[in-house]
């Protein structure tokens, strides 16, 4: 610690305080991460070890739980993947042109349109679920992946428009003007300038959409039952019938949250932008 370049120039009193604050930070972080660490550990225990009181901290890791969780996990994984990827693609198809138009051809109405789109995020799912459920029932969309994709697209579309609008306004306007002088059409501006120059933004936005769709619970539980049930419904089933298999539950949970954890760690900086709709950077 004394060799750390960061605290070389502060007085001893400050150094002691700094070390104490760092220890406190690590302790708080450990407390916060503990539930997850505990879940990861349980995934590699036997059922007896997972239930043991006092808790078992050292054990020989086994992989049986993952094997046992797979038969239920794989179909749900497929559904989650299709719903998350499908809704992200659909939200992009609908949202990218809108974001482009609002960013490159801003009118007086543009801010109003953006605000209105954001306001649809304030619509609690419970405010729309009843008619949607009845409509889905009549259209035979209940417990189908297209039905789930339609709802997740609603959830992610405002996010796509807002985030991509914010990335596209950052492209220097002179580039569009140069293209216009060269006779570029609106379509060319969109495909040759706006999209290629906002690729990093698209990646970040897609990542966020995938995470939100993957973790969604309310629509999944109420609009699917078996055929189209994604991972959230699969994990929910442990609440009752399988709640006694902690090690297996942990293995299933690890398989469910690990992809999102890795994505989220990687896209951490973009998370802030997406989560606050660009209000805090």
């Amino acid at each position: 610690m004394t060799a750390s370049p960061f605290i070389r120039n502060v007085s001893d009193r400050h150094r002691v305080r700094n070390i104490l604050l760092t220890v406190l930070t690590y302790l708080l972080a450990a407390a916060f991460l503990f539930p997850l660490v505990w879940m990861f550990m349980a995934a590699f225990k036997t059922e007896a070890q997972a239930f043991a009181a006092p808790p078992v901290f050292s054990f020989t890791p086994i992989f049986d739980n993952f094997e046992r969780a797979l038969p239920g996990y794989l179909p749900a994984l497929k559904n989650s993947l299709v719903a998350a990827v499908g809704s992200t693609i659909l939200a992009f198809i609908l949202g990218l042109p809108a974001a482009f138009a609002l960013a490159v051809y801003p009118t007086r109405r543009a801010q109003g349109v953006l605000t209105w789109m954001l306001s649809t995020k304030f619509m609690p799912a419970v405010g729309v679920i009843v008619p949607l459920f009845l409509l889905f029932r009549n259209l035979q969309l209940l417990d189908t992946l297209p039905g789930l994709i339609l709802m997740y697209t609603t959830m992610n579309l405002p996010l796509v428009v807002w985030m991509m609008h914010s990335y596209m306004t950052e492209i220097p306007f002179a580039i569009y003007e140069a293209a216009k002088v060269d006779g570029a059409t609106v379509g060319q501006e969109f495909f040759r300038i706006a999209l290629p120059l906002s690729t990093p933004g698209m990646a970040a936005t897609a990542l966020l959409c995938l995470i939100f769709a993957w973790n969604e619970v309310f629509f999944a539980l109420n609009l699917t039952s078996s055929d189209a049930a994604p991972l959230s419904v699969f994990i929910g089933s442990f609440k009752t019938s399988m709640g006694l298999f902690w090690a297996q539950l942990s293995a299933a949970a690890v398989l469910t949250v690990l992809p999102v954890l890795i994505f989220g760690w990687v896209a951490q900086r973009q998370l802030v932008r997406g989560l606050s709709f660009g209000a805090v950077k």
């Binding site: 750390s4 960061f6 604050l21 760092t22 930070t25 690590y26 708080l28 972080a29 916060f32 991460l33 539930p35 997850l36 505990w38 879940m39 349980a42 997972a50 239930f51 009181a53 809108a98 609002l102 009118t107 801010q111 789109m117 995020k121 619509m123 609690p124 799912a125 419970v126 729309v128 679920i129 009843v130 008619p131 459920f133 009845l134 697209t153 609603t154 914010s166 002088v181 006779g183 379509g187 495909f191 973790n215 619970v217 309310f218 539980l221 109420n222 991972l231 959230s232 994990i235 709640g243 902690w246 469910t256 999102v260 954890l261 989220g264 760690w265 989560l275 606050s276 709709f277 805090v280």
Partner: protein, 308 residues
Amino acid sequence: MTAITPPTTVTTTSPAPKRGLRLTPSVLIWPAMLYLILTTQVPFFMTVYYSFFRYNLVDPSSRPFIGVQNYVTLLTDPQNLRILGNTVLLAGGSLLLTLILGGALALLLNRQFAGRALLRTLMISSFLVMPIVTAVIWKNMLLNPVFGFFSWVVASLGGQPVDWLAQYPMASVIAMVTWEWTPFAMLILLTGLQSLPDDQIEAARLDGASPMQEFRHIVLPHWMQAIQVVVLMETIALLQVYGEIYGSTSGGPGVATTNLPYFIYQKAFAEYNIGLASAAGVITVILTNILAVYLLKLINRSTSSRGG
């Protein structure tokens, strides 16, 4: 790609592209607008419509118009008022705790120390965990009265075993939700702190400001925008908490942890009482939107002041 870019005349007369410009933006915006209108506005107005009927799916043929009777039922039954109270308590309690914890963590992580980047990255984990995973893991492995980790901690400190979800149901759910949302607060607040220019702090120090003065007069005013974003984003999200309750207490014991979204789920999907569930949905939307109007103002202000 090439199919929708028709060959343009090389001699670019200025009126021609201008006509294109006038038309194109609204054409490009409409698909997204229409989609959102169809999937949010239309169903909401149907929800409002259903809320004026006695409408149960068990007997769909009889659907009498009863005016505001559903609302009267909702707002006069003491049990339903408790659910409204639960909704506010859960959202408000979690919000307060996440702000305090998230703010403290943001201040701690805003210092230079070994492993800071790694901790910052790891600390967002609980926010990324699916709400229902949080619920089943906490319910079974941490809060279980006999085998749960917390019971072992209490017992090894010489205390009596506690059945957390039965004895302190709302506190347990708030703890769970707080664990999930603290990283969100931390992330936004930390970003807010890091955008504070160093020279302002230095100037204050040169003027002999104490750390407390520095915090009150420099850091806090700058922090307000990030704090407001956390307050409003979380308020909207926390009024809709559902998966955590579904996966842990199922609204119980009794209605101790039933909030509006869970109540609507029960009414609509267990009792098939579409009329009452719709009325509760409308109330939730009104409650959320009162807060949302304030949020919109805030975001408009900050995005227009961005200079873009």
